[in-house]
């Protein structure tokens, strides 16, 4: 996945924040996933509108104590995991 690639949350997945973590339910499969604080933050952004990986990394770097490059690595890895589990629009 390239930094300019746009991703958006699938409408078939819903999320709830409980106890500082985010639990994601895939309505298609009934499978649920736990996201840490960064994962929940990224999900909350791509739930609202499509974002590029680079823009997501900017947002993560601004809110968490990491550099842009570190954030981009994390964002890319998470985006790939979302895609593998068909949690993104069009994935």
């Amino acid at each position: 996945m390239q930094p300019e690639e746009m991703i958006a949350a699938s409408a078939n997945a819903v999320a709830r924040e409980v106890g500082g973590e985010t639990v994601l339910l895939d309505l298609d499969s009934g499978t649920y996933f736990g996201l840490n604080a960064v994962g929940g933050f990224i999900w909350s952004l791509i739930e609202k509108e499509p974002r590029s990986l680079a823009a997501l990394a900017d947002a993560v770097a601004a809110d968490f104590d990491v550099t842009h490059d570190e954030a981009l690595r994390d964002v890319t890895a998470l985006a790939q995991a979302f895609a593998e589990h068909e949690l993104l629009k069009g994935s």
Binding site: V14, V18, G19, E21, T22, L27, G34
Partner: protein, 283 residues
Amino acid sequence: MSHEPAFQIHGEREQAGLPAAPYDRWVSPDGETTAEFHRNNRGYLIRFPEQADFAISADLQSVACHPAPDMEADAIRTLFANSVRPVIGNHTGELNLHGSAVVIDGRALALMGLSRRGKTTLAGAFAKAGHPFLTEDVLALGQQDGSFTVAPQRPILRLFGDSAAFLLGDEPGEHCPDTKSEFAASAALPAADCAAPLGAICILGPGEADSVSLTQLGQAAALSEILRHGFLLDVEDKPRLHAHFARVAQLASSVPCLSLDYRREFSELPQVIRAVRSHMEEN
């Protein structure tokens, strides 16, 4: 639910093949299908293999049961009360979960876990120790003043023979060992007849702990655990699945959830009760 669905039991009949594969099924931990869910032009049909078919009208207002041959009426009523009624209720916005509950000092303790994890036996042991049971199989949750409550269900415990002998002080071998029998509440095993605020949820583990183990789960872990114990009529109905998820998330956020494990020996139960009671007193 605005009112209870009308329930009718018709004559027994063989379970003929159905035109399509089920869209959902319940499977026991040992891989046996315990229920199959079908749609037809009249609504839903839930088939309990070799037990009964329950046809649910599309408006959820009526349920017609055709028992399989030689099924007893009590078993049919149990299937309706413990499985069919809860799935219909959840479809209409209720929150019914699979589990037992007892009352400890005015607060309900819910016991959840996979089949054969000992929920009913533990509920019976609590009752025997003076903590009446509210339900043995269906946690019918309500909300009052922002808190969850557990409503009493049928004052019956369904027990395997060894559990019945232990709880009732009968001779081993006096009760059928391989099938569950119904035991009405009694002075020895009292039932509660009023709803109680839900104080805590215990998720029963597999029985691998060397000693009684009681640990608090985080809210996200609690949500994942509790989701496994819902009754869903239509897993393909996404708006309702979403709503059910939201209700369970609210429950996980507002009620402490504990992981409980212990060796499945009757001699362990008094210690389990002491540990849980002590935890409830301190929290």
